[in-house]
């Protein structure tokens, strides 16, 4: 099972990103361990400079802005 973390300080885009991943995982029937990280020091350990950012299995795959549906699909499938 994949561990997916959405990093962000609680802005609208971060919530949208979280919801998009949750919904797309549900639609695809993939069970994921989805988590929202809002604690700043924790976010900074991934060395991102713009949020929302997405971390999969402790690897940073995206930062800055809401990801596209297509890229979420790729993350879920890979």
């Amino acid at each position: 099972m994949k561990n997916i973390k959405v990093l962000g300080t609680g802005c609208v885009n971060c919530k949208t990103t979280f919801e998009m991943i949750r919904r797309q995982a549900e639609e695809a029937g993939v069970t994921v361990n989805l988590e929202k990280v809002e604690d700043l020091p924790a976010i900074m350990t991934y060395r991102v400079m713009s949020t929302p950012a997405v971390v999969i299995d402790e690897k940073l795959v995206h930062s800055g802005g809401v990801p596209s549906r297509a890229s979420i699909q790729t993350w879920l499938e890979s």
């Binding site: 976010i43 900074m44 060395r47 400079m49 800055g64």
Partner: protein, 353 residues
């Protein structure tokens, strides 16, 4: 039927991807053609309405029907171009450029890069820490942090569309000057000790930066994306703002504002404009149509610019976010230095013009 729609949509999507330059050229030509005829359209449209063609309502409507598409078209064009330019200036690249720069030249570069680097106030803190970690001096970081929200493409495009290029240029120059000067002053004050402890304890990182390879089609895509994100978010504010502006144009008597915010108003009109501006949290999109209306009704340029800058650059929510990384004294210094800069600009303008 549904299939057909999907099919044609994917073809539409593929064209700009395959021929980005041709697409850009065609788009620019179409844009210029429509934009240069907007005034005619609005006259024809209002003339077709079954109502009196003279009087307040017709004036306000003609203004609205002309102004809304004009402003939205300009906004789309500027956001599109900036979205593409932004794809060259990622925050990581800007940081690599600024790391190790000395104060002075660093402040100037930071403020200038603040215009072209994509910035959202929700990312202000990660960006701040990222800069400090990579060894960008505190004052230089502040120059960036002040310029990025204040001198942004939306503010400049709207000022240009509604008030004219002179005021837009003036705003650009003054915004940059305030960001450079305020950052420099904060750097001189050596307030590194007033960063929150956990920020100071974070490991230094190497700002080395590998530029990703982006094709023209990718940059075009980035432009579309930012039009979708930004215009999608602010179009309603623009229409609301222009509508309020149209109401002011049609109904508020000329020179009504002159008494309160005009040249001959009392000395306190600039500080009052700044104080009113701070708790107001609006983006450029909502505030500039109102700025235009205030100016048209006789408010002085200095007071209005000061008001606008303080609404955009000094917002209460941003202070709350920054409080997570800055101790109260540094926040207060930041707000105080920026407010003084705006105050000087406003007072000088009201006195000179």
């Amino acid at each position: 039927m549904w299939n057909m729609v999907l099919h044609s949509k994917s073809e539409l999507k593929i064209f700009p991807e395959d021929y980005p330059l041709i697409f850009l050229l065609v788009a620019v030509l179409l844009w210029v053609m429509i934009y240069s005829h907007l005034s005619d359209f609005s006259v024809v449209l209002v003339a077709a309405l079954p109502m009196a063609q003279t009087g307040h309502l017709a004036d306000a409507l003609r203004f609205l029907v002309f102004e809304v598409p004009k402003v939205l078209m300009l906004l789309i064009a500027v956001v599109m171009v900036m979205g593409m330019i932004n794809s060259w200036f990622t925050p990581e690249r800007t940081r690599a450029i600024l790391a190790g720069k000395h104060e002075g030249i660093g402040n100037i570069m930071a403020a200038t890069l603040g215009i072209v680097t994509p910035f959202c106030s929700c990312s202000a803190v990660p960006l701040f820490i990222g800069f400090v970690q990579a060894g960008v001096p505190l004052g230089v970081t502040f120059s960036f942090l002040i310029a990025a929200p204040m001198v942004n493409e939306i503010a400049l495009a709207l000022l240009f569309a509604l008030v004219g290029w002179k005021v837009a240029l003036l705003y650009l120059g003054l915004g940059l000057s305030i960001a450079i000067a305020a950052g420099w002053v904060i750097g001189r004050l050596h307030m590194e000790a007033h960063l929150e402890d956990w920020v100071r304890e974070m490991a230094r990182i190497d700002p080395a930066f590998r530029p990703g390879k982006l094709s023209m089609a990718d940059r075009l895509q980035a432009g579309f994306q930012s039009v979708h994100d930004i215009v999608g978010r602010v179009w309603l504010y623009v229409i609301a703002g222009v509508t309020i502006g149209a109401g002011i144009h049609g109904y508020v008597p000329q020179d009504y504002m002159a008494g309160m915010m005009g040249k001959d108003a009392s000395w306190w009109s600039v500080p009052a404009a700044i104080l009113i501006g701070v708790p107001m949290y609006s983006n450029a999109a909502g505030i500039i149509p109102i700025v235009e209306a205030l100016l048209a009704k006789g408010a002085a340029l200095g007071s209005v610019l000061a008001f606008m800058m303080s609404v955009i650059a000094l917002s209460f929510p941003e202070m709350v976010i920054l409080r997570k990384v800055l101790k109260p004294r540094l926040i207060a210094t930041f707000a105080g230095v920026v407010a003084s800069g705006i105050l000087i600009v406003g007072l000088v303008f009201d006195a000179v013009l």
